[in-house]
C-alpha cells in the first residue's frame, strides 16, 4: 500500500508536529481543568447530564465526524466521484432516525448505556450481556477503522516510513487518548469533541469556500476540472464509477446505502451522547444542531473532494502514502503550503484521537455498567467500584486500539466504517425500535434480534469479498468467500427485524405489561427519570 513518498509534497514535519502538539496540550489542559477528583458514575459516564443542546449537538457531530468522514469521504469523492458522495448523503439523512425515532426516547429511558434501554422491561442479565456484546463488537470494528486512518496519516505527517516508527507513534497517540478517558471521563471527552468539531468544521468550510472562490464560485467549474484530471474522465461525475461494474456491485451499493442511513443512530458511542443532556428537549435540540453541522460539513467535503481531483489529480492521490485517505492533506498542501497541511493533518489527527476516546468510553461504560454492575454483581455494585472497573476497561481497550492501529493499515477508512455501521444497524436498531414502540416485544425477541443481527452480520462479513478473495481484500493469500456482497446490511438488517419478530411470537413468556407501561410513560414524558 505505502508507495514512495511523492517528492517534497508533504511539508515540514516540524510545523505539523508543532500544531498537533499544541492541540494536544490545549485539550489535555481542558480535560484536566474540567475533571473532578472523585467522579460518581453519572459524572463519569454522562458528565452529570449537564451539557446543553448546542454543546452536545456540536459534540455529537464531533463524535460522528471521524477520520472516516474527513479523510475517507474526501478521498472517496476525489477518486471515485459520485459513488463517494453517497456516503455523505447517507450520513446526513441518517440523523433523522436519531431525531425522530430514538434520541429523545433513549434519553428519557436510560441512564448510561444502550443496555439500559434494551433491558428496561426485559430480564436484566441476559439482555444486558447481549447489549454489551453488541456494543463491544461494534466499537471494536469502528475503532479499527479509525486506527487504520492513523497509520497513513503518520507517514504523511511526520515522514515516518518505517513500520516500527509508525507503531511507536500510534502507541504515543493511544496513550494520550487513554489519558483523556481516564481523567476526563465523559465531561473531558465531550470538551475534546467540541474543540475538535469546531476546528474541523472551520477547516473544511474555509477550504471549501476558498476552492469555490478559486473556480469563480461555480461548483460546475470544479466538476469540470475534476473530470479533466481524473483517469475516469466524465464518469467520475456519474454514478457507477466505483460500484457500477455489474449486478452484484450494484446491489452492494444499495446495501451500503441502507447501512449508512440506519447505522448511525445505532452506534453505541453516538447514543451514549444523549445521556449528557438533562432532558428530552435538549436531546432534540442537540440533534437539530448536529444536523446543521453535518449539512455544512458534507457540503464542504463535496467541494474538497472534487477540488482535490481538480487540483491534485486522482493518480497523484492514489500514489501518495496513505492512498485515498491522503486526498485532503495533499489538497491542503497544494493550496496552502506547509502551514495549511500542518493544520489539516493536525485536525485529522485530533479527530482520530477524539473519536477513539469516545469509542473507548462507550465500550468501557458498557462493560462496567452492563456486564460488571448488572451481570456479574447482579445490580448491587458499589458505584465507586463501577467507575474503577470502567477506568480499568478503558486502559485495556486503549491497548487493544493501539494493537489494532498497528495491524490495520491502508484500507479506505470510510469503507471499514461502513462495515461497523452494518453491524450496529443489525444488532441495535431493530431491538431499539421494537422495545420502544412494540408492546408485545419480550426478552426472547430482544435476544433473538440482537444476536440474530450481530451473528448474521459478522458471518457475512467474514465470508465476504471484503475479507478474502479479491485483490483489495484484507486477507490476500487464501480465498474463502462465498457471500458476494462486501456490505451485508441488506441481508442482516431485515433479518434482525425478522428474528426479533419471530422470537417474540414464538416465546412462551409474554412481555411484562406493568414494565411496558412504566417504560412507555417514561420514554414519552420523562416521568420517573432521575437526574
Amino acid at each position: 500500500m505505502t508507495v514512495q513518498l511523492a517528492a517534497g509534497a508533504t511539508g515540514n514535519p516540524a510545523i505539523n508536529v508543532g500544531i498537533f502538539l499544541a492541540f494536544v496540550a490545549v485539550t489535555l489542559f481542558i480535560v484536566y481543568k474540567v475533571s473532578s477528583s472523585s467522579p460518581t458514575a453519572s459524572d463519569y459516564y454522562a458528565a452529570g447530564s449537564a451539557f446543553n443542546g448546542v454543546q452536545n449537538g456540536v459534540a455529537l457531530s464531533g463524535d460522528f465526524l471521524s477520520a472516516a468522514s474527513f479523510l475517507g469521504i474526501s478521498g472517496a469523492i476525489a477518486v471515485h466521484g459520485y459513488d463517494g458522495f453517497l456516503y455523505s448523503v447517507g450520513w446526513v439523512v441518517a440523523w433523522l432516525v436519531a431525531l425522530l425515532l430514538i434520541g429523545e426516547r433513549l434519553r428519557n429511558t436510560g441512564r448510561f448505556t444502550v443496555g439500559d434501554v434494551m433491558a428496561f422491561r426485559m430480564k436484566q442479565r441476559p439482555v444486558r450481556a447481549a447489549a454489551a456484546n453488541a456494543t463491544l463488537v461494534i466499537t471494536f470494528f469502528y475503532m479499527l477503522a479509525q486506527m487504520a486512518g492513523a497509520g497513513g496519516l503518520i507517514a504523511l505527517l511526520l515522514h515516518v516510513q518505517s513500520k516500527g516508527g509508525q507503531a511507536l507513534i500510534i502507541t504515543g497517540v493511544g496513550a494520550v487518548m487513554v489519558f483523556y478517558v481516564l481523567v476526563g471521563g465523559m465531561k473531558g471527552t465531550t470538551w475534546v469533541q467540541i474543540v475538535k468539531a469546531t476546528l474541523l468544521l472551520l477547516c473544511v468550510t474555509l477550504i471549501g469556500v476558498f476552492l469555490l472562490g478559486k473556480f469563480g464560485f461555480s461548483f460546475s467549474q470544479i466538476l469540470e476540472h475534476a473530470a479533466q484530471n481524473s483517469p475516469s474522465g466524465e464518469r467520475i461525475l456519474d454514478p457507477g464509477a466505483w460500484y457500477g461494474k455489474n449486478a452484484i456491485t450494484e446491489l452492494d451499493f444499495v446495501s451500503l446505502a441502507l447501512s449508512l442511513v440506519l447505522g448511525i443512530s445505532s452506534l453505541p458511542h453516538v447514543l451514549m451522547r444523549f445521556y449528557t443532556v438533562p432532558n428530552a428537549k435538549e436531546a432534540r435540540s442537540s440533534v437539530v444542531w448536529c444536523s446543521w453541522a453535518m449539512v455544512i460539513f458534507y457540503l464542504g467535503i463535496l467541494v474538497v473532494g472534487y477540488g482535490a481531483t481538480a487540483l491534485v489529480g486522482s493518480d497523484t492521490i492514489l500514489r501518495a502514502p496513505g492512498g485515498e485517505n491522503s486526498a485532503a492533506p495533499l489538497l491542503a498542501f497544494k493550496i496552502g503550503g506547509e502551514v495549511l497541511l500542518g493544520i489539516v493533518c493536525a485536525v485529522a489527527f485530533a479527530t482520530i484521537l477524539a473519536v477513539v476516546a469516545g469509542l473507548t468510553l462507550a465500550a468501557a461504560a458498557s462493560f462496567a455498567h452492563d456486564v460488571y454492575a448488572n451481570v456479574v454483581r447482579n445490580g448491587d455494585a458499589d458505584p465507586r467500584s463501577e467507575v474503577r472497573v470502567a477506568r480499568l476497561t478503558a486502559v485495556v481497550i486503549g491497548c487493544l486500539a493501539i494493537v489494532g492501529g498497528i495491524v490495520a493499515n491502508g484500507q479506505n477508512v470510510a469503507f471499514l466504517v461502513s462495515l461497523a455501521l452494518a453491524l450496529a444497524a443489525s444488532a441495535n436498531l431493530s431491538t431499539m425500535l421494537y422495545t420502544l414502540y412494540w408492546k408485545r416485544f419480550n426478552t426472547t425477541g430482544t435476544l433473538w434480534s440482537i444476536y440474530g443481527g450481530l451473528a448474521s452480520c459478522l458471518v457475512l462479513i467474514i465470508f465476504s469479498p471484503a475479507i478474502s478473495g479479491t485483490p483489495t481484500s484484507i486477507v490476500k493469500s487464501v480465498d474463502f468467500h462465498w457471500f458476494p456482497l462486501t456490505n451485508p446490511g441488506i441481508v442482516s438488517i431485515p433479518l434482525s427485524f425478522l428474528c426479533g419478530y419471530l422470537g417474540t411470537v414464538f416465546s412462551k413468556q409474554p412481555a411484562d405489561p406493568g414494565k411496558q407501561a412504566e417504560m412507555e410513560v417514561r420514554a414519552l414524558t420523562g416521568l420517573g427519570v432521575k437526574l
Binding site: 448523503v89 446505502a257 454492575a373 412504566e518 414519552l524 420517573g528
Partner: protein, 141 residues
C-alpha cells in the same frame, strides 16, 4: 396551546394517585441503578389516561409517516443511482447532473424535516407532556 382535550384536573389526579406502588407491575426495578421514582402515580393508569393516549397518537402520527417518507425518498436516491444511471447522469445545469442535484436535495429535505419536527414537538408534544406531568403530580422538573 392545545388544552381542549384536557379533562378536569381533579378527577385525573385522583385517578393517578390511586395506583398503589406495590402493584405487581410497579415492583422496584431489580437494577439498582434504576430506582423507580414514580411513586405517587401508577404508570399503567397514566398509560391508559386520555391525555397520554393523545400524546402517543400525536407522536406516532407524525414520526412514523415522516420516517417512512424520508426513508423511501433516500432509498429512491440510492436505488436510482445504482440501477438507473442513465437518468442520474443527465446534466441539469453545467456539469451538475441529476444525481448530484438529487443528493443535494436530500440535504435540504433533511434540514426541513428536522426543523419542522422541532417546531411540532415544541408546540404539540411538550405542552401535552407538561399536562401529563402535572396530572401525575411530578410538576415541572
Amino acid at each position: 396551546m392545545t388544552r381542549k382535550s384536557r379533562s378536569p384536573v381533579s378527577s385525573s389526579a385522583e385517578r393517578f394517585a390511586t395506583g398503589a406502588p406495590t402493584e405487581p407491575g410497579m415492583s422496584l426495578v431489580e437494577d439498582s441503578t434504576h430506582p423507580t421514582h414514580i411513586d405517587r402515580a401508577d404508570p399503567s393508569a397514566i398509560q391508559q389516561s386520555p391525555e397520554f393516549v393523545l400524546l402517543r397518537r400525536r407522536l406516532r402520527l407524525f414520526v412514523f409517516p415522516v420516517s417512512l417518507a424520508f426513508f423511501c425518498w433516500y432509498m429512491a436516491f440510492a436505488v436510482l443511482s445504482a440501477y438507473d444511471r442513465g437518468f442520474m447522469k443527465h446534466k441539469v445545469t453545467g456539469e451538475i447532473n441529476m444525481g448530484t442535484l438529487f443528493g443535494l436535495l436530500q440535504f435540504v429535505t433533511t434540514l426541513v424535516i428536522a426543523l419542522s419536527y422541532r417546531r411540532f414537538a415544541d408546540k404539540k408534544l411538550d405542552p401535552q407532556v407538561d399536562i401529563i406531568k402535572e396530572l401525575a403530580g411530578a410538576g415541572k422538573e
